[in-house]
Symmetry: C2
Subunit: 391 residues, 2 copies
């Protein structure tokens, strides 16, 4: 029940956080911010290492201020202070939360008021693919109370910081990709006709935990005759029967980092249409992997995969893109789609995720996870079998 001996050691040394912070401060200068204020679990953990499942409770706001120079400052509820004190941070300010009349606002006004001002701008999580984890009313009140300071959208700056991963981050993503690859390989032993989608998902969930996944926040399981109608909801209580396709996807985590890749299985011998669609997506994945190298754009990735998908007779794709970044979150920028325009750099971790509707109501999506290296893609997942596995 323990993780394999090759598992990376958990947690990062203070030097990792210091290096992240220094690099981030350079990017903050480019974006003209005197500080970033972070409220969400992933961004706070990125800079501090602080981890807690307590984020599941929406009651108390938490704040970490990353100044233009020096260490981050935590402004957090008292309940979290003992554990935050175990991180590399030394400046931890707390209040007895919940305190509806002033849940950290005054402390945060004080912390931001103390900062040296060069640009007069502080970045918050206000932009695309981000949600502010504090009441918007509290944020608007904070703006009123800091009239000399512009509280602006720090989203693009934050994503520029997190999009390129360190080797230590990549090690963790590779490890959870390995665990999920092992779990998918075990599916033929765990799942078969007569089970429901829900029972199949439960068997895979238990196997992921047994093999060393810390948590499995994302595990859709969908089945349908000859293909699946959608890929983001479920499992439901449909019973698997011969002729079905079973689709699994998982975002499981190890030490705070996600994998995100899917697999398709046939219940009994698959028909010709689905075999052809599977083969086409396998080839589209190859094309995506081959196109993924520093200097290429996300538009290029989309084009390389689309060429194969169109030729295979796609009648549509409601996913809206053919892959994305991943790391501390299941999906992160960039998006492989026309107009995204992100230039790939070494150290970016992305999914390669071609998909299509190959008949009305029948979708197929493949997915692998890669890291961009100077010479091209390094595969982090164990490549899906070219022939659709039969259960």
């Amino acid at each position: 029940m323990t993780a394999s001996p090759s598992a990376p050691q958990r947690g990062f040394p203070p030097a990792e956080y210091a290096a992240r912070t220094t690099r981030a401060q350079g990017i903050m200068r480019d974006h003209a911010f005197d500080a970033l204020v972070l409220t969400t679990p992933h961004n706070i953990r990125y800079f501090t290492g602080f981890d807690s499942q307590f984020w599941e409770s929406p009651t108390r706001p938490w704040f970490v201020v990353v100044p233009a120079a020096g260490e981050p400052v935590a402004v957090i509820p008292e309940i979290g202070a003992p554990q935050m004190a175990l991180t590399w941070l030394s400046d931890i300010r707390s209040w007895p939360a919940p305190r509806p009349a002033d849940d950290g606002t005054s402390l945060l006004v004080g912390a931001l008021g103390d900062l040296p001002r060069r640009f007069g701008r502080v970045g918050f999580e206000l932009g695309r693919e981000q949600s502010l984890r504090m009441p918007v009313t509290q944020f608007l009140d904070l703006r009123q109370r800091l009239p000399g300071l512009a509280l602006d959208d720090g989203g693009a700056c934050i994503w520029a910081i997190r999009m390129v991963k360190t080797e230590a981050e990549i090690d963790r993503i590779r490890h959870i990709c390995g665990i999920a690859s092992d779990a998918y390989d075990r599916v033929p032993d765990l799942v078969g006709a007569g089970m429901t989608d829900r029972e199949a998902a439960r068997a895979l969930r238990i196997e992921l935990a047994r093999l060393g996944a810390d948590a499995t926040p994302f595990l859709p399981a969908v089945s349908g005759p000859g293909g699946v109608p959608q890929i983001v909801c479920g499992p439901g209580d449909r019973v698997l029967e011969p002729g079905d396709i079973l689709f699994f996807d998982t975002g499981s985590t190890f030490d705070g980092y996600f994998c995100d890749f899917d697999r398709n299985y046939a219940i009994g011998a698959p028909g010709d249409a689905v075999r052809r669609a599977h083969e086409a997506m396998w080839r589209a994945t190859e094309a995506g992997i081959a196109a993924a190298h520093p200097g290429a754009t996300t538009d290029d990735l989309h084009r390389a995969m689309s060429a194969v998908i169109e030729q295979a007779g796609s009648i549509g794709n409601s996913v809206g893109r053919l892959g994305h970044g991943l790391g501390m979150q299941l999906t992160e920028p960039p998006s492989h789609m026309p107009g995204d325009g992100t230039v790939l750099e070494a150290g970016m971790v992305i999914t390669i995720e071609p998909g299509m509707e190959y008949a009305p109501g029948r979708m197929i999506v493949h997915e692998e996870n890669i890291v961009i290296r100077p010479g091209g893609a390094e595969l982090l997942t164990r490549r899906a079998p070219r022939d659709l596995p039969v259960l």
Copy 2:
């Protein structure tokens, strides 16, 4: 591996959602709103039944508009439309997301512009214990584009709607409380000295899944000699030894509803101080349960538990409250604390959660889940044993 035959049937009939909506519309009138706009998984699921693990991806905003009369309207990314069409909603509007230049804003402006106006106010998730699940920049842009309409804080209105549960909701909370009670009872067979906190948590996680929990988003496990230093982080890699206290807490789910309760275990025979503290928290829980009846306030609950806790020699409690609401989220309003002032009503589901620091760095917290009935509390969890269980 399947849930017990007594498990409630999953999903709710359209009549449940229609009744929720009609009741909500009455509360919306009291709060002077022409509509609510919902962006978060729990609020959207509450009104539609739509469920997806895809919420784990922060890329695309979703919206559900609850008008003053009639059915809710979904304004959602195309990828979610086939599954939303299976809910009781008939008006579903979608766009090919992600589309950075206009991720649903125009569609939402159209939907809100069509609404009959009586108050000129629309409620958004802007207030306490809520985070808006859309970029704040997009919300501020929406405000600009709807100059005749006040987009105000709908938080208090939304919590007034969700705080009192239907019998069908209570059935699901009772069921997951039963599953977790069974899993806690199995801990002596699964956990013992020599294991790490992480291994102990993994064993409990697997047992919860085996017994029928859908997911376990919250499972801290903390140990320490004679007591635990905090209760919201972990598990770590500390090895359990005789003389330790092991603290487990879990928020697991069934059909979208949470349990939230903890249990304490001694590794080997416990010392006198911890035995006394355990006994005191057991009695404080009894006092909290006895005080929980319609018409009492959350302040009353706090007072009843505090009397026992103070007498037991508490030196502090960083949790900041002695319990809270629960339901579709691990924690929901109200908070049992001075000044909260919520009057308990039949149908509210709450935790009773007394805790204290009984020696420096040594906390103990007990927790049970109850529903308020006309005659007093109905216990949803299997009551913790009065004597600290020994592993």
